[in-house]
């Protein structure tokens, strides 16, 4: 105990803030999830596991899980792919390094609300930039109602998430890349490894700490997707782009079912926890150290 005192002392202020603003609300939410609270106080009662039972038969909720997983998996896969690519290219650039780094990181500076708003104009059917370019190129058949067509709207939103986030993940890869010692790569070159072999057998394994962090951060933020959907589609058309987080907010503040919304939030919480733990355990195993 005595030995740990300094650590406890250092952690205490942050821990107290964390407990008050994160742990306590989670427990309050857990309590609320067993009630039929409508958000206005006064009359509500404990209804046991009824909210959870309802959730199991709620098609809209299950659909929102599908949408969320689709957005998360597709965006995380592509974000990591592009971020890794950009990081390697940036690392090897001789000129204008700062310029390109700024360009790639720039969208990250803007909030999702701003980004989403800009993209609704780019996606507009009649005078949006994308359809305009297709029209000018004579590719009329490629022109789409990007935010209105139920079949593609989820991907339109995912693209914006990728565009906005890729810069952040690039920076993490870049930081990791710069710690890879030149000798190791040099040794591989001497051993006769080609570029791809060097990447696959030397570079990528050494970058796995960054990959672990990036994948998990990306996955968690994907599962929480809300603001970009709220701004770009408001969950629509219909319920086609409703994510879990969006569904929770709608239940709690639009439909006045805060008890039910809390139950859904608890399910999301458990889901994110399980997925994160599995991923951390798996990804940590394959990390290598010099």
């Amino acid at each position: 105990m005595k030995k740990n005192l300094p650590y406890i002392a250092f952690a205490a202020p942050a821990l107290i803030v964390y407990v008050i603003f994160a742990i306590v609300p989670i427990f309050l939410s857990l309590l609320l999830s067993f009630t039929n609270f409508d958000g206005f106080g006064a009359n509500y009662k404990f209804i046991g596991f009824q909210n959870y039972a309802t959730a199991l038969h709620d098609d809209r909720f299950f659909y929102s899980i599908q949408v969320t997983l689709l957005i998360t998996v597709v965006s995380c896969f592509l974000i990591n792919l592009f971020a890794l690519l950009f990081a390697i290219v940036l690392n090897n650039l001789r000129k204008l390094k700062g310029f390109y780094r700024t360009i790639i990181f720039y969208p990250q500076v803007l909030s999702f609300v701003v980004v989403g708003f800009i993209w609704t104009y780019i996606y507009n059917y009649n005078d949006g930039a994308i359809n305009f370019i297709f029209g000018k190129l004579g590719l009329e058949s490629w022109m789409q109602d990007w935010l209105g067509d139920s079949g593609i709207v989820v991907f339109s939103v995912t693209l914006v998430i990728i565009w906005q986030s890729v810069g952040f993940y690039t920076v993490i890869y870049l930081a990791n890349l710069q710690t890879v010692p030149g000798e190791v790569l040099e040794a591989a070159t001497i051993d006769g490894a080609n570029r791809f072999q060097k990447f696959k057998n030397v570079l990528f394994p050494l970058m796995s700490p960054a990959f672990t962090i990036n994948w998990i951060l990306c996955f968690i933020s994907g599962l929480k997707t809300y603001d970009v959907v709220k701004v770009m589609t408001d969950g629509g058309p219909g319920f086609k782009t409703e994510t879990i987080a969006f569904n929770i907010i709608s239940q709690a503040f639009v439909a006045n079912k805060q008890g039910y919304g809390s139950a859904l939030a608890m399910l999301l919480f458990v889901f994110v926890a399980i997925v994160s733990v599995i991923q951390v355990v798996y990804l940590r195993k394959r990390e290598v150290e010099l």
Binding site: F40, N124, V254, N256
Partner: protein, 434 residues
């Protein structure tokens, strides 16, 4: 040895941090005492928070600042602090979250007085203020008035007079004439009806609600009330045929292409730039910034006709000023609400900014722009009818059902089956109402 040093360092830092906190508190308390002295000087200045919507350049911060300052001049001990909704939540969502966090402003713009009133979140408006209204009995919930409706909006069809003249169209007086005009506009390669599928409330305001209203006037004027009391459901002919007519508009291509990706601003621009010939909207566009207005653009207005003809025009008078039940300065807040009605200059400016019509016992008029004048001409000699779905008191529909119905409209544009959507809507109603 090393450990001792670490411990010493850690405790010193912790102490210095605590000391820093301490001095902070001291300074703060000094400031506080300073404030108390100041307050004493101005005979206990108190602050009341006023939540209102900041929209475009007509209803911006400066616009409200003038009102806030004027009140402060008349009541030097009360300072009104404006609160704006800087999030992208709707007014009702914003108020619910502020209520949940115990931070509801004292005076608020209220669009769902019924819901908030029943939850005891609002103060009952006393008679001496209620009597400023032309109809103090309007919109009471269980006999109690929770909001002071300050404006009446008129909802109907705005049309481009030039397009109508070019195509030799007259103002439609029946449903058949309306459909006929829309078809001719479509043949002329223009969008007949501008609307926004992305901001789905526009589909409701510029589609479903006026359609339900016209059907109700045509078949059963009590439908909104009977739906509210569960006497009738969405399966009723009034609602069903309104929804089918909406579906037909979309299937006949009246909305044009890409409607689900279009937002409210874009829909408005489509009309003002002459690409769309008609736009079903509320009188508030008269008070808002209108983009791309062409010099030869001339606007007209007519109420949406039903099968039997124009039987009324839609009005929406449910938005008002309310006082939070948790306000610490209830008397002052009520005084401010009274001021918003009694001060002619302030009241007129509020109406003008929204292109709205007055609700006071003594009607207030002002010089209207071309949109307002078009509305005045369009509704002459026609009786008003309250927009269904936006009622107060016994005509109030289940809270949250409007958002759900807007989603259904998007589904229908995307090709969903009307009957299935109606079934789902009835199920959602019973879930929301219980």
């Amino acid at each position: 040895m090393k450990k001792k040093w670490t411990l010493l360092l850690a405790s010193t830092m912790l102490l210095s941090m605590l000391a820093a906190c301490g001095s902070g508190t001291n300074e703060q308390s000094k400031e506080n005492s300073q404030e108390t002295e100041d307050t004493k000087k101005t005979e206990e200045t108190m602050e009341i928070k006023w939540f209102r919507q900041e929209v475009g350049s007509t209803r911006n911060k400066e616009f409200y600042k003038k009102i806030e300052d004027k009140f402060h001049e008349l009541h030097p001990n009360i300072k009104v602090v404006g609160v704006a909704n800087s999030s992208n939540l709707t007014v009702s969502e914003f108020l619910k979250t502020s209520l949940a966090s115990g931070d509801m402003p004292d005076v608020v713009t209220m669009q769902s007085a019924d819901e908030f009133g029943k939850a005891n979140a609002l103060l009952e408006i006393p008679d001496h203020i209620a009597n400023l209204l032309a109809d103090p009995e309007f919109g009471r919930t269980g006999g109690k008035l929770y909001t002071m409706p300050y404006k009446t909006d008129v909802i109907g069809v705005f049309y481009n007079k030039k397009v109508f003249a070019d195509l030799d169209l007259s103002v439609p007086k029946t449903w058949a004439e309306f459909t006929d005009a829309a078809n001719k506009i479509k043949e002329a390669k223009l969008t007949p009806l501008s609307t926004s599928g992305k901001d789905s409330w526009v589909l409701g305001m510029g589609g479903l609600w006026p359609l339900v209203g016209a059907e109700a006037l045509n078949n059963n004027t009590d439908y909104p009330k009977q739906r509210a009391s569960d006497e009738l459901t969405f399966q009723d002919d009034v609602f069903k045929s309104a929804l089918n007519k909406f579906k037909d508009w979309n299937q006949n291509g009246y909305f044009g292409k890409g409607v689900l990706g279009m937002n409210y601003q874009q829909a408005t621009e489509q009309f003002t730039s002459g690409k769309a010939a008609m736009y079903i909207m509320g009188s508030w566009i008269a008070g808002s910034d209108l983009p791309n207005l062409k010099p030869d653009f001339e606007v007209g207005f007519f109420p949406l006709p039903s099968d039997k003809g124009v039987l009324g025009y839609m009005t929406k008078g449910t938005e008002g000023w309310s006082v939070s039940a948790t306000s610490e300065h209830k008397e002052e807040a009520l005084e401010f609400v009274k001021f918003l009605f009694e001060d002619k200059e302030v009241y007129t400016s509020l109406l003008q900014a929204e292109g709205a019509f007055s609700t006071t016992k003594e009607p207030v008029t002002y010089e209207m722009n071309e949109y307002g004048q078009a509305i005045m001409q369009g509704i002459e000699g026609i009786q008003p009818y309250p927009l269904p779905g936006f009622g107060l008191g016994e005509t109030a529909w289940a809270p949250g059902i409007d958002s759900y119905l807007f989603k259904i409209l998007q589904n229908i544009i995307a090709g969903a089956d009307v009957n299935k959507e109606i079934e789902a809507a009835d199920q959602e109603w019973s879930r929301l109402a219980n």
